[in-house]
């Protein structure tokens, strides 16, 4: 039953991913012109010049003179059959080289933020619901809304200032200068962890506030359900009762949120990343889009979308595991 469900969901992913790849490629093609036009414009703005034969040669070299469909096919078949994401015009390196390190770090930051979000939001949400309108509820609600309202870049600046003046830490980036280009080692990992907390807190705050409200509202709905009374009438202790029945049911929307929390974290981190100068995907994607570095931008969008689809799948599988009604529905 479950295996069938997973298989079905995996099969559904295929057309979704195809559609995403088309849209991703189309988005990159949307602005008029191509990378070379932008490149020429940049050169001319800087007072340089480039001959038209040279331009034609470059165009041929990058296959930019081919019809769009052919370009799309070259790109997508490269990814699917050879794991080749194309060539970045901007960096003059294969896209994959730029991509993987950044996607990996983005993923680390997002995952850490997500864990923080859930670990903080869950108990506070439960507390706020069972002690509705208590002092604690108001305090958490206040800070929650504060977190929701403060723009991430502002929080980033504040935390950077605090980290620099109070802890004397090197701020910006994920690594201290001495580790930035060093190979992975124990010291580098510790250094990463020391830097990680700032972006994780910044990226996590808004989501935490949102999730606390979600958990609180869900649980408030469930607390008055008749099955809670049934369990109480059986003689179940209050704490067991709370966790076994209403909290368990209130988790459903909490879990389905994982699906769109993941991409929100990945993409929402862009501005923070730029402010903090993090080696993640956000800043590169922005640059790539601006310079029409099509294979780089397209591949980034593609990868982020795949993450989204996977996140949704994960949350759906969690739900199926959690709620038998979905399993058999």
């Amino acid at each position: 039953m479950l295996a069938r469900y997973i298989l079905k969901r995996l099969l559904y992913m295929v057309p979704t991913l195809i559609a995403i790849s088309v849209v991703a490629f189309a988005i990159v093609q949307l602005p008029p012109g191509d990378f070379l036009d932008t490149y020429i414009a940049t050169l001319e703005a800087e007072g340089g010049d480039i001959g038209s034969e040279e331009v034609e040669a470059l165009r041929r070299r990058y296959a930019l003179d081919q019809p769009i469909l052919v370009q799309y096919w070259n790109w997508i078949s490269g990814i699917v059959f050879r794991g080749d994401f194309g060539w970045s015009f901007q960096y003059q390196r294969p896209v994959a080289d730029i991509l993987w390190g950044r996607v990996g770090l983005t993923f680390v930051i997002s995952l850490a933020s997500m864990i923080l979000v859930y670990v903080v939001a869950f108990p506070i949400g439960v507390y706020s619901a069972i002690r509705k309108y208590s002092l604690g509820d108001y305090v958490f609600t206040f800070f929650g809304f504060l977190g929701l309202a403060i723009p991430n870049f502002m929080l980033a600046l504040v935390l950077m200032y605090v980290a620099l003046t109070v802890f004397g830490q090197s701020v910006g980036g994920l690594f201290s200068p001495e580790y930035a280009d060093a190979p992975w080692s124990w010291g580098k990992l510790v250094d990463l962890l020391a830097h990680l907390w700032i972006p994780v807190i910044i990226i996590g705050t808004a989501s935490t506030a949102g999730l606390i409200r979600v958990m609180r509202a869900n649980l408030l709905d469930e607390l008055n359900k008749p099955y809670v009374e049934t369990a109480r009438a059986k003689g179940v202790g209050e704490r067991t009762l709370l966790l076994r029945y209403p909290v368990r049911l209130a988790l459903n929307p909490f879990i389905s949120q994982v699906g769109w929390e993941l991409p929100a974290l990945v993409s929402g981190a862009a501005i923070t990343s730029i402010v903090l100068n993090l080696p993640t995907t956000g800043p590169v994607l922005l640059i790539a889009l601006r310079s029409q570095d099509m294979y780089l931008a397209g591949s980034f969008i593609m990868i982020l979308s795949v993450l989204t689809v996977i996140g949704t799948l994960l949350s759906d599988l969690l739900l199926v595991w959690l709620d038998p009604r979905i399993r058999y529905g």
Binding site: Y227, T230, A233, K234, L322, D323, R325
Partner: protein
């Protein structure tokens, strides 16, 4: 079917033995007061209530909504929702822990404490009204029953499972060895309530409190559950406190009755005395309302006498021929499998001007779908509905376009079941009643005058025009719904369970109002209901539906008193009558359909 589970268990009862003998006092409630401290003041939900429960006896606590009967029950277990609190009185439970001399005053225990938790589910068990929402949807039935055993007994896992299966078998759940691992949503409504009863009985309690356990069920299922509770009571010898608003159920099962009104106990006594010589005006009114609905309304009898001589020459206002509605659901890989349910199957009806036709049936019989198909609120799959307009023109409703339908909706109106859900809380009464008129392009002034007039017609005051629905009680809201339906001067009203959500005294009033309006405005009614007594009281003719088909049509008194179809017989014999001398659901007819069951709800694996 009647395997003596209690005996087999009480000899070497793996769970516990009960120290009290039959007839011993099990629970005494003395001057109980439970109050709710609200912002607007103190609500005395239970105010000085006293009664005694004996082993083997059934006490029915009866009253209308807001009478405090449910709060009384919850006070006993100390599970009153905040801010409710027991502020006075005693709740004495006898024979605690199997020791006949040990008495505990439950009112003094801490609601979150260990002592009261040891009582809940073990000495006193409770079953609730909504069998769907009272069970956790994400835990198996077996696990939910098991919880009680795990808390209150030392049995190991195997022994517990064995007992749960025995319990499930005892409450007649088929294939208990497998259904134990099923989830509540895989059970039908009746089965869920059986599982709930099994859960309550798991620890062999001294007292069973049942809070409207059959209210959400169909009458035939209700009869089965009442039978089951009775049998189990004989076998286990527990004292039963049964809370209900249905005087028929009271008459059927009670030994003693306690009548509650607005938190106070107005009358208590043996069931015979209360029914046949009620002392308090409120009990007289309750029983009177219930008995009143046992026969046709006086106005109907008079009207029937008028039409008795000579053939009925009133014109046909609505003719339904071969109406059908199929629902198809898709399942499986890429929706490859589909299955079709015939919600309404080849239904034919006719209605004369000024006539009232009742459509009765149990849940899932298709009566509501049929009612909605008539106005194309649900598109019928087949058949025709033709309406004869006031000017004599015949209109084929099934062929009307949008504009035609809109015009038709002036002549034919609907009233719905839920008077809370069917009034927009952000609109004033004047706006609500005036809405259909606004659609017809009336001027604001004229709408107001008409709305005021209508309000007075339905027994409310024109002063109420500016209020919002939340300021009204359920019965008053249903009157507003009726006023809204009457606004464009319709000729036919389709009422879908219009009185089902109302208390019995209000129900009779609303029906009388409709009868009045019918004679004043020469209205025709189609009255969809599951309640036979309402149909008997209010309708001229009845159509009985079962699994999408109309199995019997005829004059109301004929069908209700001398039914012909075996299903109608079974349905009618399951309705409890408000007369303790005429207990009969135990001898009811049972109807087993010849065809295979419809796929509405799974009845077993």
């Amino acid at each position: 079917m009647n395997r003596p589970l209690a005996n087999s268990m009480s000899g070497g009862d793996p769970v516990r033995s009960v120290g009290l003998a039959r007839g011993d006092v099990a629970l005494e409630v003395r001057h109980l007061k439970t109050h709710f401290a609200l912002r607007t003041g103190v609500l005395k939900a239970v105010d000085d209530v006293s009664f005694t429960l004996r082993r083997g006896d059934t006490l029915c606590v009866v009253g209308e909504s807001g009478s405090g009967k449910s709060v009384t029950a919850r006070s006993i277990l100390q599970i009153v929702a905040a801010p409710g609190k027991i502020v006075g009185g005693e709740i004495l439970l006898h024979g605690v822990g199997g020791d006949p001399d040990r008495v505990v005053d439950l009112a003094t225990l801490d609601p979150r404490g260990k002592e009261i938790r040891a009582i809940r589910g073990r000495e006193i068990a409770m079953i609730f009204q909504e069998p769907m929402s009272s069970l956790s949807p994400v835990h198996t039935i077996g696990r939910q029953i098991d919880e009680s055993l795990r808390i209150h007994t030392d049995l190991d896992k195997r022994a517990r499972r064995k007992r749960i299966i025995e319990l499930l078998k005892r409450v007649e759940i088929p294939d208990a060895e497998h259904t134990i691992d099923r989830y509540p949503f895989e059970y039908s409504g009746g089965m869920r309530q059986r599982a709930m009863i099994a859960m309550a009985l798991a620890c062999n309690p001294v007292v069973l409190i049942a809070d409207e356990p059959t209210t959400a069920l169909d009458v035939t299922t209700q009869a089965e559950i009442l039978d089951l509770i009775g049998e189990l009571q004989d076998e286990f010898g527990m004292a039963v406190m049964f809370i209900t608003h249905d005087m028929g159920v009271v008459a059927e099962i009670a030994d003693r009755v306690c009548v509650m009104n607005l938190g106070e106990m107005v009358e208590a006594g043996p069931v015979e005395d209360v029914f046949h010589a009620p002392q308090h005006p409120y009990s007289r009114m309750l029983i009177g309302s219930a008995v009143k609905l046992e026969k046709p309304a006086p106005a109907k009898i008079a009207a029937r006498a008028r039409h008795a001589d000579g053939p009925d020459d009133r014109a046909q206002i609505l003719t339904v021929e071969g109406l059908g509605k199929e629902f198809t659901s898709h399942k499986g890989f890429f929706r490859s499998k589909s299955r079709t349910i015939k919600a309404v199957d080849n239904a034919s009806l006719s209605l004369r001007e000024g006539e009232t036709l009742g459509i009765v049936g149990e849940s899932g019989s298709g009566k509501t779908t049929l009612g909605r198909c008539l106005l194309r609120m649900i598109e019928p799959s087949s058949g025709t509905v033709s309406y004869r307009a006031g000017d004599g023109a015949d209109i084929d409703i099934t062929a009307l376009d949008k504009r035609g339908l809109r015009r038709l909706y002036r002549d034919i109106r609907m009233i719905f079941q839920d008077p809370f859900g069917s009034l927009n809380p952000r609109m004033t009464v004047a706006d609500l009643i005036g809405e259909p008129l606004k659609m017809m392009g009336w001027k604001q002034r004229r709408i107001r005058d008409r709305a005021a007039d209508l309000l007075e017609r339905v027994g409310l005051s024109a002063d109420h025009l500016e209020r919002y629905p939340h300021a009204f009680s359920g019965g008053q809201r249903q009157r507003i719904c009726i006023a809204r339906a009457l606004a464009p001067e319709p000729r036919l009203i389709i009422a879908d369970e219009a009185t089902s959500a109302l208390d019995v005294s209000i129900r009779a009033q609303v029906l009388d109002l409709l009868l009045d309006l019918q004679s004043q405005m020469s209205l025709s009614f189609i009255f969809v209901s599951h309640d036979i007594s309402v149909v008997r009281y209010f309708c001229d003719r009845v159509a009985v539906m079962h699994r999408g088909r109309i199995v019997e049509t005829g004059v109301a008194t004929q069908v209700c008193d001398h039914p012909e179809h075996p299903y109608t017989k079974a349905l009618l014999s399951a309705v409890p009558r408000p007369d303790p001398r005429d207990r009969r659901i135990h001898q009811r007819h049972r109807y087993v359909a010849e065809d295979h069951p419809t796929a509405s709800t799974m009845e077993g694996p």
